[in-house]
């Protein structure tokens, strides 16, 4: 177990050094890939060093970011370590996103280099060439080009990058149709992994299943808590991640003891054929959306010896609350629970005044794991507030504190929804729908049923001839698949308005739900 003082870790390089030191203590711990292959920590470090040699030397001025767009694999993990070891931040991009969206993000990000795999190389090579960004392909057996050999022979300066604190850059759905860039510092990752290792008592006998793609904040727990504690790490690639039978197989073969994912992935396990039972698993962690009671009941049987933790957090703050789920008398819905040890929070009334004792308000969070900010200072200013000299992140979540001090989720005060664990800003969906030439006015909205949360859209057209396929083909070039509505109502009628004349998602959802009831 780790007991280093997390406040000592300031820079990205220091964090990376700390990872290296911890990993060297357990060189035989391993990464298991989806095909069952293993890569020891030692081999992983060697892989990372090879990648470092192929990265351009660090810039002289300021902080740099290296983008990684690759299928989850040991090579991709090595790329993360490689980037951090050069004192730079890594920006993981989801390869399942459309090319146009990836290129927009990359252009905005202006990375020092782009690390790809064979598949994403084909998709992004032209962009890298045009923008003059060095492209590093994972698993590329070709010897590095002469120039980069030369570069790698020049000793990397140690001093230049020591001030760099930025460690990771994530992208999350933004209301204007452009993803928001979230900047996360090294000490935030370190404080967080420390808590995870402590709370779960993670150690060399554990194996953690990493389900989320690296582009999601959930992966911070998987990657850094495992490597810091010497636990094995099983990487479920995209294909495995969406197949319950394969996930169960992977857990059995790799000896998984800790599971971490969104509830939708656990649903796949609960529904997996053959009623699997996995007694080895001792912790089941889930985050990102409500857990259906029926799924949970089934999961108690699948994991008879595990403790269950409902975790609450967001990309901007990482995890901040958790609830230890009792097997008997399980509440439905599950509360968000209690704050993590290093978190301070308050419930704010609509005037921004803190609420004492039990009550309902917007959750504001102050913690060392909070983002530095968005890349856009205006967005940061809107999302954060200083109270009593402390900087709080305004979560946008309305929560209730009960008499016992337990926090419960009530709803959102904006347009953000979670669909299969993916955060989607409905305004972003609207923006892209309205961008279609045949659309007069569009409004997306969600309905909830036994199947979960479903995304729908009402579209007023300019005339005949527009169908949902036209809209889908338009959206699929711009949005991740989770943000494409399942149902479209295409009409010559206006979007329903409330009494203030404002387009109203709630009215649409109510009409839709009463029509199908």
């Amino acid at each position: 177990m780790l007991h280093q003082d997390f406040f000592q870790i300031v820079g990205t390089r220091a964090f990376s050094d700390c990872l290296t030191v911890e990993m060297e203590k357990t060189p035989r711990s391993k990464i298991v890939d989806s095909a069952g292959g293993t890569t020891s920590y030692r081999a992983l470090s060697a892989l990372a060093e090879e990648i470092v040699a192929r990265l351009p030397g660090p810039g002289v001025l300021g902080e740099e970011v290296v983008a990684i767009c690759a299928e989850k694999s040991p090579g991709c993990l090595a790329a993360v370590l490689a980037v951090l070891s050069t004192g730079r931040a890594y920006a993981p991009l989801d390869p399942t996103h459309p090319d146009g969206r990836l290129m927009d993000i990359l252009t905005d990000l202006n990375p020092a280099a782009l690390i790809v795999d064979e598949t994403t190389a084909q998709r992004l090579k032209a962009w890298a060439l045009e923008m003059g960004v060095s492209l590093v392909e994972l698993g590329d057996a070709e010897p590095p080009a002469p120039a980069s050999v030369l570069e790698s022979l020049i000793p990397r300066p140690n001093v230049v990058v020591s001030q760099q604190n930025l460690a990771a850059v994530l992208h999350t759905s933004g209301s204007t149709g452009k993803p928001k860039r979230v900047e996360i510092e090294a000490h935030a990752l370190n404080v967080f992994q420390n808590w995870v290792v402590d709370e779960l008592d993670l150690n060399i006998d554990d194996c953690l299943l990493s389900h989320a793609p690296f582009a999601f904040d959930l992966s911070f727990l998987d990657i850094f808590a495992s490597l810091m504690s010497g636990a094995d790490l099983a990487l479920a690639d995209a294909k495995t991640a969406r197949n319950g039978a394969r996930l169960v197989e992977m857990m059995k073969q790799s000896g998984v003891t800790v599971w971490h994912s969104a509830p939708s992935a656990l649903k796949l396990v609960a529904q997996a054929p053959g009623n699997p039972i996995l007694p080895e698993v001792r912790s089941v962690l889930f985050a990102g959306e409500p857990m259906p009671a029926k799924t949970l009941e089934r999961l108690f049987q699948v994991f008879p010896n595990a403790r269950f933790l409902n975790i609450y957090g967001c990309t901007e703050t990482n995890d901040t609350f958790f609830y230890e789920v009792p097997r008997e008398g399980t509440p439905d819905p599950l509360p968000l629970g209690r704050k993590l040890p290093y978190v301070e929070y308050l419930l704010a009334d609509p005037e921004g005044m803190p609420i004492e004792g039990k009550g309902e308000g917007e959750l504001w969070v102050h913690c060392p794991t909070m983002m530095r900010g968005y890349s856009d200072p205006e967005l940061t200013a809107k999302a954060t507030v200083v109270h009593d000299g402390k900087r709080y992140y305004r979560s946008g979540d309305i929560v209730r504190r009960d008499r016992a001090g337990i926090i419960h989720f009530v709803g959102r005060n904006d347009s953000i929804v979670k669909l299969n664990g993916v955060r989607v800003d409905l305004n972003e969906v609207d923006t892209h729908l309205n961008g279609h030439a045949g659309v007069c006015e569009a409004l997306s909205f969600v309905t909830r049923s036994g199947e979960g949360t479903i995304l729908n859209a009402w579209v007023k057209t300019k005339g005949e001839g527009l169908n949902s396929l036209d809209l889908r083909l338009h959206l699929m070039k711009r949005l991740p698949v989770a943000a494409i509505p399942r149902n479209f109502t295409i009409s010559l009628l206006e979007v329903p308005k409330n009494s203030n004349g404002k387009a109203c998602r709630r009215m649409l959802a109510q009409n839709c739900q009463s029509a199908t009831a």
Partner: protein, 83 residues
């Protein structure tokens, strides 16, 4: 070969307003959001019922049901196996 009931099922279940001739053989049903993960399960249940196919646990993979062309090839292969 072409299976008209398959196309009708997809149109009626997932894409009521899309004319059948626009549901081309190579249209990506997953990336367009026409069929989501739950939709794949509905589709598999349909294939098992309609074509008396047995889908193995390993075949519960959305990637195998991306296009109508791909599904038709799968039906063909299963029918050869069964014959």
């Amino acid at each position: 070969m072409s299976y008209p009931t398959l196309r009708t099922f997809i149109a009626e279940e997932f894409a009521m307003d899309i004319p059948a001739d626009q549901l081309t053989d190579d249209l990506d049903l997953i990336d367009t959001g026409i069929v989501d993960s739950l939709g794949v399960l509905k589709l598999i249940a349909f294939l098992e019922g309609e074509f008396e196919m047995t889908i193995t646990p390993d075949e519960l993979d959305a990637d195998l049901y991306r296009t109508i062309g791909q599904i038709e090839t799968m039906i063909d292969a299963k029918q050869v196996q069964a014959a």
